[in-house]
Symmetry: C2
Subunit: 740 residues, 2 copies
Amino acid sequence: MPDANPKPWTETTIVGKSIPRIDGPEKLSGEAKYTLDQNLPDMLYAATVRCPHAHARVTKVDVSRAAAVPGVRAILSDADKDCNIPWYRGSRLFDPHCRYEGEEVATVAAETQQQTWDAVRAIEVQYEKLPFVSSMVDALKPGASKVQDGGNIVQPNNFSRGDVAKGFAEADVVVEETFQTSCLLHTPVEVHGSVAHWEGDHLTIWDSTQFPFTTQAGVASALKIPLSKVRVIARHMGGGFGSKIDLSKYTVLAALLARKTGRPVKYCLSREEELLCVGNRPAHNLRLKAGVKKDGTLTAFELRGNSEIGAYPAGDSAAYLVRELYVCPNVKTEEAPVFINAGQSRAFRAPGFPQSAWALEQTMDTLAEKIGMDPVEFRLKNISMVCGVDGNKPYTSIGLPQCLREGAKAFGWTEARAKAKRDGPIVRGVGVASGMWGYLAPPISTAIVRFYADGSVNLNIGAADLGTGTRTIMAQVVAEELGVPMAQIEVENADTGTTQFSDGAGGSKTCMVDSPAVRTAALEVKARLLEMASAQLNVPVADLKLAGGEISGPGGNPKVAVGRLRTLQTQRVVVGVGTRAPHPADKAVRPFGTHFAEVEVNKRTGEVRVVRMLAAQDSGRVMNLLTYRNQVLGGMTQGIGFALTEHRVLDAGTGKMLNRNFHDYKIPTAMDVPADLTVLPIDPHDTEVNSTGTKGLGEPALVPAAAAIANAFYHATGVRLARAPITPAAVLEVLNAKRG
Amino acid sequence: MPDANPKPWTETTIVGKSIPRIDGPEKLSGEAKYTLDQNLPDMLYAATVRCPHAHARVTKVDVSRAAAVPGVRAILSDADKDCNIPWYRGSRLFDPHCRYEGEEVATVAAETQQQTWDAVRAIEVQYEKLPFVSSMVDALKPGASKVQDGGNIVQPNNFSRGDVAKGFAEADVVVEETFQTSCLLHTPVEVHGSVAHWEGDHLTIWDSTQFPFTTQAGVASALKIPLSKVRVIARHMGGGFGSKIDLSKYTVLAALLARKTGRPVKYCLSREEELLCVGNRPAHNLRLKAGVKKDGTLTAFELRGNSEIGAYPAGDSAAYLVRELYVCPNVKTEEAPVFINAGQSRAFRAPGFPQSAWALEQTMDTLAEKIGMDPVEFRLKNISMVCGVDGNKPYTSIGLPQCLREGAKAFGWTEARAKAKRDGPIVRGVGVASGMWGYLAPPISTAIVRFYADGSVNLNIGAADLGTGTRTIMAQVVAEELGVPMAQIEVENADTGTTQFSDGAGGSKTCMVDSPAVRTAALEVKARLLEMASAQLNVPVADLKLAGGEISGPGGNPKVAVGRLRTLQTQRVVVGVGTRAPHPADKAVRPFGTHFAEVEVNKRTGEVRVVRMLAAQDSGRVMNLLTYRNQVLGGMTQGIGFALTEHRVLDAGTGKMLNRNFHDYKIPTAMDVPADLTVLPIDPHDTEVNSTGTKGLGEPALVPAAAAIANAFYHATGVRLARAPITPAAVLEVLNAKRG
């Protein structure tokens, strides 16, 4: 039985290096097959009639004209009993009560994608329009139209520690501000989609999903078939960011249409459907009150918040950082998610955390200014070295002080702060913000390494690679332990039919959950190879070394090429199975990070330009410097979108989305992102979290970015713009108001 | 670490029952995808120009006209440097020296299969015809044309024990006869074929192969790419019988054409190509001399033999039974395979053994008659209870005496023998013959069982299912140990990309090699489930029982449904990995069998009709009574073909095959096989061979069949027809000769 918790590496030769993606050539050449590229013989296409109103009841669906459209092979609507599948909160697959613009009303399968669109237009639907609410402010008004029968407020989420009244009484300075963030839309490069294919009673689904095993479970449950009959494959992916965690209706619809027609069905969303329906980061209203003593000791935080979660339940607390990041004896947070008639929110890169940082880290800035402390020093003074929300457990490691210190040094914080430009039409300032990321208890996952007689390796893991480089990193772990060239390692992943369970690629946990399992599996293979060599060379295992495809005894003799191991030649392959040891029960695990930003504000146009940013991240060991950098650059980029450009716009008069395309919904382009982005990895040499020392990077790399930009905006302008995004119109409004 | 050698079953509830194939519905409905059914988008088809002469040298290949045929996308010939791939004995992929009718000269890929045939006809090839030999008699004549440079005789294969001269001197009776068997062609229902598909530098091959891992290794070696880059899939198969063990050229050609065109290529042989090229059971000439004392003690066997192995080396000894089946102190066997200009021989259901039985078991019949003993009694007296060719090791079990005794009783041997009809135009007689089967050391294989939280199971094994029911039997083992309904078990097999190594489905070893591995894997899952239940119920593992989806304590309490195990709910799946323990080193492993046949011979037409047969088989435990019966019925049926109808005919004038279709090459039809076929399983309760007590059934079920029919023919007619097949013409010839 392999040791599930081997000793951490002391030095590495392949892990940690800048190694290009093993699937880079495939992707660059167009050979890589994404779900959209999956074409099967006799495949049909699908498209859906979606409710065009913010709130309506379907009173009639007439598919007769659509059925006559050339190429149409099947139409599904609420009239089909196969479609009586429960969905969110007592609704069903085609619920006649449409609670947001974009809800599914009927779906067609046809020979070509064009024919599906013709058919969609030919389906006649009668709607009874209902009153709607399209903002949390409206939804909370007395007598507001109800999105869900139970009312518009979801079960509040409250937390309390100490006595905030006492805390504020003890404070020398108390500040209070309402921070607002906008609804941000999921925009993965690859749209959502599934291809469904039945062979007898076996269903195979190619799906662009972060959690193939969740899709498998959801589809099996929806169709009432055993898990073992559903195979979900997610080989290549163009991003997910949380929107591809949950099962979506299109996957089930593809499976139903394929079953009804006896043919494979591809159903990929259009970009417009993507923006309307696949989820979003909810807007938050966060009233944050904070107290501090003159010496910089925090005395109390009180947060009251609402979030606009759309038409169906979704959790997205923005209180995490307030509760945990800093030492503060008195904390109270009260949050209530609010339903509105719009697409529902879903997990989105660090759900709630960037919103939390937006409020907390701007407040920390204000407090520091009020007591005359440097913002970096003020944060350093207050960092909590134990996990205040989890029994004050120490962290397995905490590199946050290093992030602040080394980040400030590398950024030239003190100098830049001193050189801020406050005069003239274009002003300049710098800002800092910290963050962290916390996960649910990560599950056990299993990895299998197969070592072939010719020295090539097949690695089998359950996790999807969203484009983050998971396959490459896992192959590095194998290469590290077995001395096999990267080019000889094939990674088979994210296929519920052939790979082992993994909870999925989300929550920044893929690397921390799977890399230790891969390492254990590789070490088991190594142990087996050394045993074979020991028997063949008549040298004790302990005296043998595996390197460069050879196993050798003390001083290099005797030796044998791995390919010449007789037992291996006979059995052709050695199989190693590895699982991850659980986290130590008496420790908390968190990655941390601090971002620094410098911005210029054009006071005449209201434009804000990020001049440069630096991200110091503590995510434990750097597995691959190249993928690490890319993750952090992506985090900063999304932070710029959060801070400056992105927000869903719903029309007040109709409740319909006004910016359902990439022209009107503005994600940062190359013109909006500075060339001067610095990534500073901080490795606290965590020997307790797991055998690879990794803590997860995807989400923490975004968390503080927008808050750092907001603080830099304040530093440049002297005006706090508490509502994101900081658009030119909003900037001009506050600057004009200041001028009076 | 699971125990690789758990205690044998004492009783079973699912194993041993008549359970229909788990993939039966798929196959009957046509949903099951065989290699021929594998269609990929943009797939091309392939076809090959084959040498039309028995022996020739290619002097020119002009593809210019063929390249202009509509739809042609690639043509490969010996001119392409990619085709410089070594093949048998120093020849290469397109060897200009064509040693048999059907050797590959050039291959095309085109948009449709019809276009490939047009292109094949348009390729202009010039041949220099060479002298040929089309029988071993001709090949052994002085000055015969050489098939291979080294001459026409392959390295002889000799064996000797004791002193045969002394043995014959001690004998009371010595008999000697030349037995001849014909060349039998491989006729699996599904023709040979491959579909090759490149994605970047990854090659996937769907192949109708018994040994996917051998195909993987062969293709990787031919194309000089790592094993991990080649994935071979063989999901459903329509038979193999040994012809689908070795790598064939068409597989490599499909891969080369796919690489050259950048498109998937399907290459399936026509039935004519199948009969010409994919292998055969070689014809044997066997001169067997035997001595016996009056009391029935065997004193000596001397065998001299030749076999017609075609144009390339292949081993096929017919001496096995002579050396091992009976106690005989003096044995000498000398065999020399002979090259001729015809398609090469290949493994064919018990290679050499039916030929061996044809000579030995007819000789045993003659000896019994000469000394006036009943043939059953004579055999019983001489059965060797130890393995004479392997250091006189005892067998793990030997049910052969039971096969003879219980078979004779069930067949009504004594009565039927007494009632033989020797008068009139239609005579009737009965015959008996025994056999066994011996394997090479079976390899280790690995099985993986994944148990899902909903109680469904995924079983992962490397072995192909040729149509024998392997998937069903292995699922039964899982069902037996885990109490899961058969319908909840999915079997993933024979995919080098996703399943573990297995040596392949050949040599009757799949069941004996893989079922113990599957059992160990299932037991590991069971152990993990019991551990979970133990922790949850607070009951020691030893006191817990898993049955019917529940784990319960003593007397049924406390209990928990497997689906309610909290740890399972969290980790979703339990993975068990199992390997097979090696055979006990001090024992020999053999399955045995005895067949009884009753035949009628029409002395006016020469027709021989098998009236009934009974096969008593000792293959260890019966895993599934239904698949067991089918295997044995198939064995008897092929035995009828061997004895009465099948033989390749080469034209003496041209060396070309005259019966290259199912009209002229006669395999038994329903009209040739009696309804009265009895299968009598003999289970010696082998507790030593492995943890499932299985010894392999596929090949032994054929071995004695033809010899039993030949003995019945003798019993009916009083004439020994030593040459197979016993055709009407041959029968009339010997009967006329007897009449004088």
